[in-house]
Symmetry: C2
Subunit: 107 residues, 2 copies
């Protein structure tokens, strides 16, 4: 096979896993950290910063957008990507809820 059997898991489990998955690439971690050190960012900065090709960076940005972590505004012929802070906080809360509720007494 090779296809994740998402239909056998709950909506919550799939959503949680999707968030983790998007964050599960060092380039995307690096992109988020870089944006946090600026007040904003543009894609071409990230090409220099990450050492990845422009097409690759654009693709990673798309994935971060797909879970709502980034929002982009058009600024002339540039894109200004920045964190969606509300979504950022919501995701942090969601992950903490997972960690707090999934804590077992060990055998």
């Amino acid at each position: 096979m090779g296809i994740t059997k998402s239909q056998i898991f709950t909506k919550n489990q799939n959503e949680l896993a999707q968030v983790f998955k998007v964050l599960g690439h060092p380039a995307r971690v690096a992109i988020l950290q870089y944006i946090s050190n600026q007040n904003a960012c543009i894609c071409n900065d990230l090409v220099e910063e990450t050492g990845l090709a422009q097409a690759t960076v654009s693709q990673h940005l798309k994935e971060l957008k797909s879970i709502g972590l980034l929002k982009g505004e058009i600024e002339g012929k540039r894109m200004c990507y920045c964190l969606d802070v509300d979504r950022w906080d919501a995701i942090q809360n969601q992950l903490n809820h997972f960690f707090n509720t999934t804590k077992a007494n060990c055998c």
Copy 2:
């Protein structure tokens, strides 16, 4: 290509991404939640619980072990897998540190 260029990122970024990646599958989220509802667990329970084949479950458990989240004790001819609570807390702290430090003023 298709290979993640981990050498161009920091050790911290790679480690963080690796943790997110392991958690980024609904079966592994479900396994952790199931273990938390028991006091322990055995692999065969998980086969029924998840609807995945025994080999598949075993593989997911191996990945969770790879980041230290689970520890397994041999109990006769069974394995007793349980959360490593110290590691669990450490990872939660690591992720919170990432979320707290990577928080930008939006543009």
